[in-house]
Every structure is written in C-alpha cells, then in structure tokens.
C-alpha cells in the first residue's frame, strides 16, 4: 500500500513550476537544495550528539524519569524528515525546470542556445584572420613589374566575421554570415536548409556553389592562407536553390552533413543559381539565364575495413550557364593576392570584353587523409565564350582556361589530418609542456589562361600562365586558434611589357586566425 501511494505519486510526478521565472526558480531551487543539505547535516550531527547525551543521561537517571528527552528527539526527527522531503520536492522542481530551461553553452564551438528538447539550436560564431604579407625581391622597375596592384608589404584583415547558424524545428538549418574583412561589408552566406529527408534536402539562399573542392572546404579550415588556382575558375558564392542528399553504405545510416556533405559514403548536389562567373560572388542577376551546377562525391572505401583508404574521397563537379554580356572577374595570385588577370586592362583598340554564350566547367577532384597524412588535388577546365569589341568590330572567342593543384600535408605532432582542419590533442600550454599541433604542407598549383584571351586582353597587364609552389607551416595552438606561415613562389608567363614574363612573385605570409 505504501508502495502504491509512492508509485502513484511518482507516476504523476509533481509540477515543474515554482512560479514566475523558470530561470530564477531553477537558480533558487539549487541554492535552496544546498542550504537544505547543510541544514540536514547539522541536524543529523545534533541528533547524534543528542542521542549520545541521552544515552549517558539514561544510564545515570532513575527509572521514574526515563523519557524526558523524547519530545526533543521526536521534534528533531520531524525536522529532519521535513528537510529531506523539501529536498525531494526541490529535486523534482529542478528536474522539471531543467526540462523547460534552454541550455546556454559557451566554449570552443561558440555560444550556443539549445532548447530543452534539442530541436532548436542557435549558435553565435565568429572568426578573425589577421594577415601579414611580405614580398621579397620586388624592388623592380615599374616597367618590369607592370602590376596594377602594388606589392606593398602589408597587414590585412582578411576575414572578420560574426555569424548566426543553427537549427530550428530539428530539420531546418540556417546560416547568416556577414563579413567585415578587407575593408568592406558583405553578406557572405545567408541560407536555409530543409533536410527532412537525408537523401533529398533543399538549400535556399546565398551559398557556396558546389563546384570547386577547395572552395567547399571551410573558410577557416584551409591548409594554406589562400586557396590555389583551380578555386578561382569556379564561382565563389551565388544565390539559388540546391537539392542535395547523402547516402550511407548499405547497412549503415546516413548522417546529415550540411548543404555540402563530407561525412557520408555518397553525396550529391544539384543546384540552380544566378550565375556568378569565375571567381564571382553576386547578390542579384541581370538576365534570365541561370547556372546549373552539380557535384557527385564519394568515400568509396568508407566502412571497408581498409583503414588506409577510409579517408579517400573522389568526385566530380561541373556547371553550365549561358551568360549574356556578363562582366568578367579578375584573378589574383594565390597567396600574394596581386592582380594577375585583369579584364579591365584591354588590348589596343578593344573597348569591351564580356562573357557571352556557353560556359561550362568540369572539375575532377579528390582527397586522401590517413592519420597525420593528407593529400588533396583538383583539376578544372573552364570553357566559356567571350564577346569582345575591337576597332568597332565585335568578335567572339572561345576561352578554355585550365588550372590544377596538388597539395600534401603532414601533422608532425601526430594528430589526425582532415579536410576539416586539425584538432590538437592538447591546447598549447608551455607551462605543462603542451605544444598544440604542428602541420607542414607543400603545394603545387598552375593556372593557364587561354591564349585566345589576348586577342582582346592586354598581354602586358595579364599573365597567360602562373605556376606556383608553396610551403606552409601551421601551428594549431587550440581548436580555435592557429598561427600560419606560408612561402609561395609564383612564376609567370607574360604579364609584363614587351611580351616579357612578369617577375617571379615571392611572398612570405603569416596569419593569426581565431574561430569560435
């Protein structure tokens, strides 16, 4: 019967509410809990002392006065019971409040608000990339250099972002990310991803186009300060809608990996966008024609048991659009970020040069990560029609630009090397002999601009080819903070007066990066 009452009561449980302010009640309940606990301990001590005293007294007192202290003992018992019961009630209330109280977490993943049912999460995140670039052997004559951008050694705020991302109603992810770096304010990302079905989700808004592998890598996860040349022949970000999905190997369950997935056995993206052009990022469109982009990616040896190949990823991406008199976007050198292809510097007699007509891209791409080792590479053919006007005559050329890169990296301290950067086992703390994680890397990258381009473009102002090798060192102090140092040497074909080759660009660059 006693159990029945307890069970019935326990089955219903008490109410969660102490009243007005759930947060205040939760705090109050915890404080009261501690206070009551201390009271109980004190009363128990007094009770024990009292009982000991009583025992002594009983042995001395006569039989006619045996129970003089019993009321005190009973009263103490009652007090202890009351306190215990109050603790139980406070516990119930705290548990119920916890079910209703959103969780606030602050840590290496930013500041997070999570609803009690975990279906709603809002994260406040941010990143800062502070760079310094130092150019060597750049004291050439202006005639020899012919750079439209100076090679001034400079500090740069490459990235200064603060953004909101999260999940609402379990299946709706979102991201809103402005960027205040480089002295301007832009809206880099603003999208909503409805992922009710892992095999078919829809992403709406401004997002990375699913083309270049290195572009799809997190903006703070790259091995080098700047991406390599293949990235610049794909669009950066565009506005549109993208269908995407992921599949697990048979026998396993797919895991939601965001709009561009790198977690599952097989994933695809198919999108329709405004069409931003090579290296472009636009917020509107000037014509009806849209760009279609798609990508297929696989980790073919995932869950194969072959450990060395589990981290192999291969895929192919492509795009097609039909721009109409669309402006062309210039291209800079990789780490130096100096202008090397300048569509504004037209050849003699040329008054305009725009993209007009079929434009397609093909991007085979792959990476491999195993333990501390990492390899990544991609190749691109970007073929588009350009419409130029020279000496009053309009002409059309076919521009087939190509680029490729291969990079290798190795984590000296042994942590896992991944596409999503390196997480140090221990944060840097010299007092404890902890040094964070260290990674070294090397890269080779080439960009080949179709010679046809120079029918309309000034060859003294734009290079026809750039070949770069780079070495890099990354010091991951914590999961959030990284120091980077790269050296890149880029050789050019053309790009200087009289058909000469632009002098080799030698740049040493450093970055301090903080991401949360």
């Amino acid at each position: 019967m006693h159990n029945r009452w307890s069970l019935l009561w326990a089955a219903g449980m008490g109410s969660a509410w102490m009243g007005f302010a759930p947060d205040a009640s939760a705090i109050t309940a915890e404080q009261r809990f501690e206070k009551l606990e201390r009271h109980i301990q004190e009363l128990e001590r007094r009770l024990e002392a009292s009982e000991t005293e009583n025992q002594k007294l009983r042995s001395k007192k006569s039989a006619t006065d045996p129970i003089a202290s019993e009321p005190d003992v009973k009263a103490l018992h009652q007090k202890v019971k009351v306190l215990e019961r109050k603790l139980e009630v406070a516990d119930e209330v705290a548990i119920e409040n916890a079910k209703k109280t959103p969780k606030l977490e602050a840590g290496s993943n930013g500041i997070r608000f999570v609803s009690p049912d975990n279906e709603h999460v809002v994260r406040l995140r941010g990143s800062v990339q502070a760079d310094y670039k130092f150019f060597m052997d750049d004291n050439q004559t202006p005639a020899g250099l012919h750079n439209t951008s100076n090679l001034a050694d400079r500090f740069e705020l490459k990235q200064a972002r603060i953004w909101l991302e999260g999940t609402l109603w379990k299946y709706l992810d979102f991201k809103i990310m402005p960027d205040f770096g480089n002295g301007r304010t832009i809206l880099a990302d603003a999208w909503i991803d409805a992922h009710y079905f892992p095999f078919a989700s829809l992403n709406f808004g401004k997002q990375k186009t699913p083309i270049s592998l290195e572009r799809l890598q997190g903006d703070s996860d790259g091995t080098f300060l700047e991406r390599a040349y293949p990235t610049y022949l794909a669009s950066n970000r565009d506005i549109g809608v993208m269908l995407h999905g992921e599949f697990a190997k048979p026998g396993y369950q797919a895991e939601y990996g965001g709009p561009v997935d790198f977690k599952n056995f097989l994933s695809y993206q198919l999108g329709v966008f405004n069409g931003a052009g090579d290296n472009g990022s636009i917020d509107t469109d000037i014509d009806d024609d849209k760009e279609f982009a798609g990508r297929l990616w696989s980790h073919p040896f995932q869950h194969s048991g072959i450990a060395a190949l589990e981290g192999l990823g291969v895929g192919i991406a492509g795009s097609w659009e039909l721009p109409k008199r669309a402006a062309l976007v210039n291209i800079n050198s990789a780490i130096g970020q100096n202008r090397i292809l300048d569509y504004g510097q037209l050849g003699t007699g040329t008054s305009s040069l725009v993209a007009d007509g079929d434009h397609y891209r093909v991007y085979p791409q792959a990476y491999w990560y195993y333990g501390p080792y990492g390899l990544m590479g991609e190749y691109v053919l970007s073929s588009q029609q350009l419409l130029g006007r020279r000496n009053g005559q309009t002409g059309r050329i076919q521009q087939d630009n190509t680029a490729w890169q291969v990079q290798a990296s190795y984590v000296i301290t042994g942590e896992d090397n991944t596409f999503q950067s390196v997480k140090p086992r221990q944060a840097f703390n010299p007092f404890n002999g902890q040094w964070g994680a260290w990674q070294v890397a090397a890269r080779w990258s080439e960009l080949d601009i179709d010679d046809e381009t120079f029918v309309y473009l000034n060859p003294s102002r734009s290079v026809s080819k750039a070949t770069a090798w780079a070495l890099g060192v990354n010091w991951f102090l914590t999961r959030n903070a990284r120091l980077m140092a790269d050296y890149e040497q880029t050789y050019f074909d053309g790009g200087a007066a009289g058909g000469r080759d632009r002098p080799t660009e030698k740049v040493f660059a450093t970055r301090f990066q903080l991401v949360f």
Binding site: W5, W9, S15, A16, W17, V89, E92
Partner: protein, 347 residues
C-alpha cells in the same frame, strides 16, 4: 407480377442489401488522452474502463483512454505547450480557460457546453489529522496556531492548493470580518506549512508516507481515499484509524471542470468520441462512479444516494467571495500577488 418484375425486384433487393452491407464499417481502435489534475487517478482508472465498455456496446469501437496526472496549473501549461490532450479534466476553471486565453485550443464559451458549468461533480477542502487528533484541529484558525505543522501543496503549481488557499481566506473573511484578518490568517497557515508539494498527491505522500506534519489539507475525495486505503492496512491495529478526517465549519465549493480540447480533437478526428467521453461523466454510471470515489455528484439523485458519506458543512462559491477565478488568480496567485507577498523570501 411478371417474371421480369420479379427479377427487377430481386435485383433492387440485392442492391439494397449490398449497399447496406457496405455502409457497415469495421470496428475501430481509437484512443484519447485525458490530461487531468493530481488526485483523480483512481477515479479515471475505473471510469475509463466503464466508458470503454459503454462505447464498445454502443459503437463496436474499442477505445483506450490514456491518462496524464499532475498539478493542475502544470498540466494546463503542458497542453498549451503542445501536449496533445483530446480532453482536459482539471481542478479549476481558470486553468482550463488558459487553453483559450493562451493558445485558442478551445472556444471562449467552453464552460457552457456541458451542464453545471462543465463540472460533472464538485468537491471541497477538508483536513486529515493523525489518530486522536493530538493537536485538536477543528477549523481553519487552528491551522494558524504556533506549533501546528501543516501539509498542503503549492498554489503556484497545484489547482487544489489554490482552492485550499481561497477556502482559508474565505473563512478568515467570514469569521474575522476583514481582508487584513484573512490575509493574516492565511499568512500564519503558510508559515506553518512544513512542505509545499507541487501537487495534491505529493502532499499525500508527504503526510502519509513520510509522516510529516500534523494536518494535511486536501481534497475531500483524497482524504476519504486515504482513510479507505489505510483502513485496510495492517498498520491500523485492531481496527483503529491511523488518520481522522476533520471537516471545517466552512469551506469552498470546488468545481473541477472538464472540456474537449477542440483543436486537438479536430486534428485527431476524435471530437465525437471526446464529447461522448465527457458527457458520460454526467450519466448515471458516471455520477455513481464519482460518488463512489468520494466526489460530490452533480446529479441530485446520485448525490442523495452518497449523501451520507459526506459531512455537512457550509460551502461558498468562488464567485460569491472573490468575484470569480480571473479576479482571484490576478489578486492572489499572479506574480507578485498576495501569495507571493505572504510566502516570498523574507516574509
């Protein structure tokens, strides 16, 4: 009649039979969720079985009623926050009305849809004391005496607790003649409150199981259930009661209301069933079960049958003394209201 006519008549007869047969649906399994207040568990356990039997005989359908119990205020909030209750059977009209005020889950005129302001039975608040009534508890003012330990739930979470508070206040107002005197009485009672549980059933556990306090202030039906439960226990020893019920001279008429949660029932397609479920509370069998579980049936004939089990006492209505639930809630139980003033920190 020609053979052709006979054939035609047979064809019509066969067609009619086929149509009639097709109109007969298979028996369905349906379910309801009844979100109720704390001490009604035993009543609805028996009532649900009775209703299921009735419904099966009437329609052929098998109905399963799931129950949720807890402090009335908490239960109302749970439904507003998304708990899919087909019906609510709560302790007081204010809590039910919040389903309209906060979430428009029910129509504004919900209370007029069933007889007696949608209260199929009534109850009141009484005292349960220990064997022999060692502290001599007779009325509300005895609860305020120094040295008396009172067990009652928290008005912030429990519907029953609000009835108790208002009963004490009404007594203070009537017997001592002023709001200040009533407030003083209630303040002293809650000062003597050993533990404020979150619901009526929690208070029962505190008093009965944990043996805390000198007097439990609770629903009349809860008090009778405790007496009935413990009269069967071996701990009574030679037929003695471990507890005694004390009826105060004056108490409040508690009218726990019921309603279909229209928004949920429409989505579930259970409107008809949910309405029938609540209407059955007013049937002879429903009223009889209420009386059996120590609720005061609204049917006079059934009340007369169970009248002897209830002690006579003067009962006042909340509308008579407090102007209704909205006023009472705002004055006494809202944030910063009178209860917070007399029971808040530093009181």
């Amino acid at each position: 009649m020609t053979s052709k006519n006979i054939r035609n008549a047979l064809a019509v007869l066969l067609l009619g039979t086929a149509l009639a047969a097709s109109a007969v649906t298979e028996a369905a399994n349906v379910s309801l969720l009844n979100v109720s207040y704390d001490p009604t568990r035993e009543f609805y356990e028996e009532y649900n079985a009775a209703f299921a039997k009735y419904w099966r005989e009437k329609t052929g359908d098998t109905v399963t009623v799931k129950q949720s119990h807890g402090g009335g205020g908490k239960q109302a909030r749970a439904v507003i926050d998304g708990l899919d209750a087909d019906v609510v059977t709560l302790a007081l009209a204010y809590d039910v009305d919040q389903l309209y005020q906060k979430a428009k889950l029910i129509p504004e005129n919900w209370q007029s849809r069933l007889p007696n302001n949608s209260a199929p039975y009534t109850s009141t608040m009484v005292f349960l004391v220990r064997e022999g009534n060692p502290k001599g508890i007779k009325d509300w003012n005895d609860l305020a005496k120094p040295g008396v330990s009172v067990v009652t739930p928290n008005p912030k979470t429990s519907g029953g607790a609000r009835w108790i508070y208002l009963a004490a206040w009404g007594y203070g107002l009537k017997k001592q003649g002023s709001e200040e005197a009533a407030k003083d009485l209630v303040r002293k009672i809650y000062k003597n409150a050993a533990v404020l549980d979150t619901g009526a059933r929690g208070s029962t556990v505190t008093f009965v199981e944990r043996e805390i306090g000198d007097v439990l202030v609770t629903w009349e039906n809860e008090a009778y259930l405790i007496l009935k439960e413990y009269s069967l226990s071996s701990s009574t020893e030679h037929g003695r009661q471990k507890f005694e019920l004390v009826t105060p001279s004056l108490s409040i008429l508690a009218e726990p209301p019921v309603t279909v949660v229209d928004d949920v029932a429409k989505r579930h397609g259970t409107e008809k069933l949910a309405t029938a479920y609540l209407e059955y509370l007013y049937s002879k069998e429903g009223q009889d079960l209420a009386g059996k579980h120590f609720y005061r049936p609204s049917d006079p004939a059934v009340l007369a049958k169970y009248g002897n089990q209830f002690k006579k006492l003067e009962l006042f209505k909340i509308s008579d003394v407090f102007g209704g639930w909205n006023k009472a809630q705002k004055t006494h139980f809202s944030d910063g209201g009178v209860f917070d003033q007399i029971y808040g920190p530093g009181r």
